[in-house]
């Protein structure tokens, strides 16, 4: 286990360096004035703000020195400053509880609905529930989730008044339920499809026949003998959907006005506040890498057969 951990951590170093360098290069090393490109073409940057940004990002030093400063800043929790001289880290500090709440709520919905529908489809394979799940998930994938989010907001929030339309004033779970449902639509089809495949495979296994022959009840066979070995691929899929989920928060929090990290990014784009977009995106990328690491480790803990090479 220790060797696996060390090796996994070592492979993460080039990835962290690579991703941060790509972000860095996209922003500061492309031809043109980085301060102006962060502000967008139509915006005049005050000389004071420009000077502050220049000194903050060491834009007058050489490329590698700049990147070195940027990287050591990241390690110290410095994600840059915006055009109002506000550190992006303070925006992050204000926003992360909202995003974590939204992400966890979404994750639970995804896990429960995805595995539930997947098991249903597998048990009734080829019949109506199966076809309905398959057709439904194809449709869900075809309609962009931000459209679904707007329609849900207009129908369930505005017209029917079941949920608050915007903000977090109603607290958890009321304010988070509708956005989380919309966001979960991104992952549910994939989790359901994977669960269906895994459960179908295990349904045909000999140990299931043995359990049935022994006289175990339907539910017990399903939960103990079919679902349990199916969990491994499902867990890893739930980890993978986190990438989609993280980027999904940007549009969903923007649409529902949830003041989290995604909302800050959304606003940053709308107001051409480049440093905010870049800083928070960097944090999201690093979070994604960290969660992937945790999922990989969990994977080995859950299933000892998966060893290290």
């Amino acid at each position: 286990m220790a060797r696996f951990l060390v090796r996994r951590l070592l492979t993460m170093i080039p990835v962290v360096l690579g991703t941060t360098f790509i972000i860095y290069a996209a922003v500061y090393a492309l031809p043109g004035d980085p301060v102006q490109s962060l502000a967008g073409p139509d915006r005049a940057v005050s000389p004071a703000a420009a000077a502050a940004l220049r000194s903050h990002y060491h834009l007058d030093s050489s490329l590698l020195v700049q990147y070195g400063h940027y990287l050591s800043g990241l390690l110290h929790g410095d994600f840059g400053i915006d055009f109002g001289d506000v550190p992006v880290s303070s925006l992050i500090a204000a926003g992360w509880p909202v995003t974590v709440r939204l992400a966890l709520t979404t994750w639970v919905i995804q896990a429960v609905a995805g595995t539930g529908l997947g098991v249903l489809a597998a048990v009734r394979a080829g019949r109506f529930p199966d076809l309905a799940v398959l057709g439904g998930s194809t449709l869900i994938l075809a309609v962009p989730y931000f459209v679904t989010a707007y329609v849900a907001q207009i129908v369930f929030g505005d017209r029917l008044g079941w949920f608050p339309v915007s903000g977090v004033d109603a607290g958890w779970p009321r304010s988070y339920l509708l956005p989380a449902l919309c966001l979960a639509l991104l992952g549910v089809p994939e989790v359901a499809r994977l669960t269906r495949a895994a459960v179908l495979e295990n349904l045909g296994a000999e140990f299931v026949d043995t359990a049935v022959a022994k006289g175990a009840g339907r539910i017990r066979v399903l939960v103990r003998h079919v679902l349990r070995p199916s969990l491994i691929p499902i867990v890893s899929m739930l980890g993978l959907t986190l990438g989609t989920l993280l980027s999904g928060t940007i549009l969903i929090e923007g649409i529902f006005n949830l003041p989290g990290l995604g909302y800050q990014t959304f606003q940053g784009v709308q107001q051409h506040n480049g440093p905010v977009v870049v800083g928070i995106s960097t944090l999201l990328v690093l979070t994604f890498l960290f969660i992937n690491l945790v999922v990989d480790v969990l994977y080995v803990v859950i299933d000892p057969r998966i060893r290290l090479d």
Binding site: T11, P14, V15, V16, G18, T19, I22, I23, A26, V27, L30, G32, P34, S37, L38, P41, T138, L139, L141, A142, V143, P144, F146, V147, Y150, V151, I154, D158, L186, E190, R193, L194, L240, T241, L242, G243, T244, L246, S247, I250, L251, G254, T265, F266, V269, Q270, G274, V277, V278, S281, T282, L284, V285, F288, L289, N292
Partner: protein, 301 residues
């Protein structure tokens, strides 16, 4: 989303080996309503993208830029089946004209991705060694970005937001998925008897790759392209809707949704009609991809 592609990445490697009976898959495809429907949608949309003027004029108001602010946000009337947008332009004609950029980005991005995947996949899979190590590590780096977030960062700092530049950025973050599949597919082909035979006969690397390896290794990647087009179209719409993709005066479904986003509550049509076309296009490409995969890549069924 690009996530449509992630599921079958591992499964497809050795399927390239199974012979596909001549004529068989196509004939069985034509018997499936799903295929006929999706192929019809895709062909129709491509026709619309190629000549939007012809389709836009069906109701007599084909010019997307003939606008009258008096009609701002009005609902459907005679000659204007979708009503008007906020600027008072005919919405139907705008949506029809939006097909070109949305589809164009989907096709261009997927073409660039496919070429990159074949070239890099061959280099990594066929030659192996240091080259393979470099390409694989580079893929790992790009897999480190959550979908869309890398694209948002790069596009945010881009000053040009044309079809070409947006496509290139989308391709920059979507090549690793197909490249990984291509690489593993090439790995299974490169040591097969006929490749060894060609090598023993003295064929050069280029000839072996072009004549023997690529034709036999490309199937798993090729069947994914249609699905990838669907994913790219959604990604473009999301980015443009957010404000980092295409920008007005470009006309795409994403741009229409972006410019109208404050008015959705009062003018539902501004949301419904562009997204209807968007969803139909994605559905068409994804279903088509599904059918192609079922027909040509039986292992994934």
């Amino acid at each position: 989303m690009t996530s449509l592609l992630s599921a079958p990445e591992a499964a497809s490697a050795s399927s390239a080996l199974e012979p596909v009976p001549a004529n068989g898959p196509l004939r069985s495809l034509l018997r499936r309503p799903r295929f006929v429907f999706s192929a019809f949608v895709v062909v129709l949309l491509c026709a619309v993208a190629a000549g939007p003027g012809f389709f836009a004029g069906w109701f007599g108001h084909g010019d997307p830029h003939a606008c009258d602010l008096d009609h701002s946000g009005h609902g459907p009337t005679a000659g204007h089946p979708f009503g008007y947008d906020i600027q008072g332009c005919d919405l139907y004609s705008n949506v029809i004209h939006g097909t070109r950029d949305s589809l164009g980005i989907g096709l261009l991005t997927t073409a660039v991705t496919l070429v990159t995947a074949v070239v890099l996949g061959c280099l990594a899979g066929y030659f192996g060694g240091l080259l393979d190590l470099l390409i694989s590590r580079l893929m790992d780096v790009f897999f480190g970005f959550p979908v869309l977030i890398g694209m948002i960062v790069v596009l945010e700092t881009f000053s040009v937001h044309s079809v070409t530049s947006v496509s290139l950025v989308l391709a920059l973050f979507s090549w690793p998925v197909l490249t990984r599949i291509m690489r593993s597919s090439v790995l299974t082909v490169r040591d097969l008897d006929y490749v060894v035979a060609a090598r023993e006969l003295g064929a050069g690397h280029l000839r072996i790759l072009v004549r023997h390896v690529i034709p036999n290794a490309i199937a798993p990647v090729a069947v994914l392209t249609s699905m990838s087009i669907g994913g790219v179209i959604t990604a473009e719409a999301s980015l443009t809707f957010l404000g980092v993709g295409l920008r007005a005066p470009a006309v795409s479904w994403g741009v229409q949704l972006n410019t109208a986003q404050q008015y959705f509550t009062d003018h539902l049509g501004l949301l419904l009609f562009p997204s209807l076309f968007l969803s139909l296009a994605v559905l068409g490409f994804v279903l088509l991809g599904d059918c192609l995969r079922d027909a040509f890549d039986p292992r994934l069924r």
